[in-house]
Symmetry: D2
Subunit: 138 residues, 4 copies
């Protein structure tokens, strides 16, 4: 599938990133005790997206390539509508990454805090809700 | 506060619903033990939005009035751009309601399930993540 | 086709409004001379959505019914996630209406002004662009 | 958290792109006759965004830098919520670019086609409406 980085040039901007579902699932079970190293605060502990880190980096490298492709389209005076179509594709790809990161954050960081309870649980829930509102309004 | 229903006619479609923050906060503390009646599954238990039920109903009645106002605008052949502006206002109001409902759901239903752990926790987290994705794509 | 108003109760909130494409197309040809009565300014002239007025009213009545259905769901303490799913459906339906109105506005009102040229053309284009930005950010 | 503005490299991912309004305005007057070289079809003619080409390239280079900053955040195991905040910023920046490109396309390419009339006008309007729908749904 199209995540072969070596076969991907910057110019390959039109391939849709619809294969996010095909990525290997998170091996940690959400909601179950994520263990001492699985919560993303304090910073010395790994973040919720740890198990999918390489997959996220591949996606972001691809998105970076798409933004370079957009610059090349503008430099080459390509047609406005084609540029707009490509921007829609990049926006959708970013949205997919944000949904995956948010899911991992809820399943690990927030779930871990809620299991421990107390003020940390309240704070993590409030923070996640604020992030969801920002995503919905961006 | 602009939620005086009696003073609100259907035609009052242009007043922005920006006062959602002014609504009385949820009295239940998120993340803390919501007690036996505070989780929204099974159906016999009250939903996460219980404490703010009347506020949500006021908001939705107002949105219903806005949709009637939209029909009146179309019937009266009002200017396209004015209709579009009003649709943007209704969409924003719906988005605000959905963010409030989602927040209460995470703080109560999901938090409760996560504290109990097991498969129910996993299911509630997966369900919430799917709902967030639907909101972001609607 | 789900637009039979007589067969539609308020409770029919879950039926998707995906049949917008099935609506009869605008009979006026976009871009061609819309004639003296086809531009939406001044107000004494009919708006760009004139030919589809009844279809828009049917859609908005349906959306109004959906907002009443939402209130009934909240009154009945229905499950948060089901309410959120329904809000996503209403938001999508409103987005479809706004895209149709915008299309008619561009095809008739803006096109007419551009054909006439001058400051009115500039003003109509600027106004349409502002409306698109509002839609994209609502 | 490496957000020192004075050390602004690609890593400076949090600076908001709010300066879009400050960019020099398009010197061509929308709606007025854009002249023989101002329509974006056929390809041998410059696109609608020609006058702002350098400004768009600057914005896209900045967005490319932001996507590299995102990768660095993931590589450094930075906090999920901080990554999500940054993704919201990139999405908003892309949305701003798309609105500017769309505006220039309507003001030049579409306006030019509409002034010429005929099937080309219809085609350009239909194409623009489809692009707006894609943006609103991405």
């Amino acid at each position: 599938m199209g995540f072969e980085v070596k076969a991907m040039t910057d110019h390959d901007v039109t391939t849709p990133i619809d294969d996010l579902e095909a990525v290997e699932p998170d091996v940690r079970r959400p909601g179950s005790d994520p263990g001492p190293a699985a919560c993303c605060v304090p910073v010395s502990r790994p973040p919720g997206y740890l198990d999918n880190k390489q997959a996220h980096l591949r996606r972001l490298r691809r998105i970076e390539g798409q933004t370079r492709g957009l610059q090349r389209m503008i430099e080459n005076d390509e047609y406005c509508i084609d540029v707009l179509t490509q921007i829609s594709a990049v926006t959708s790809a970013l949205k997919s990454v944000s949904l995956l990161l948010l899911e991992e954050h809820l399943n690990h960081c927030v779930a871990h805090a809620v299991q421990n309870g107390g003020e940390e649980a309240d704070a993590k829930l409030a923070e996640a809700n604020a992030a969801i509102a920002r995503l919905l309004r961006s």
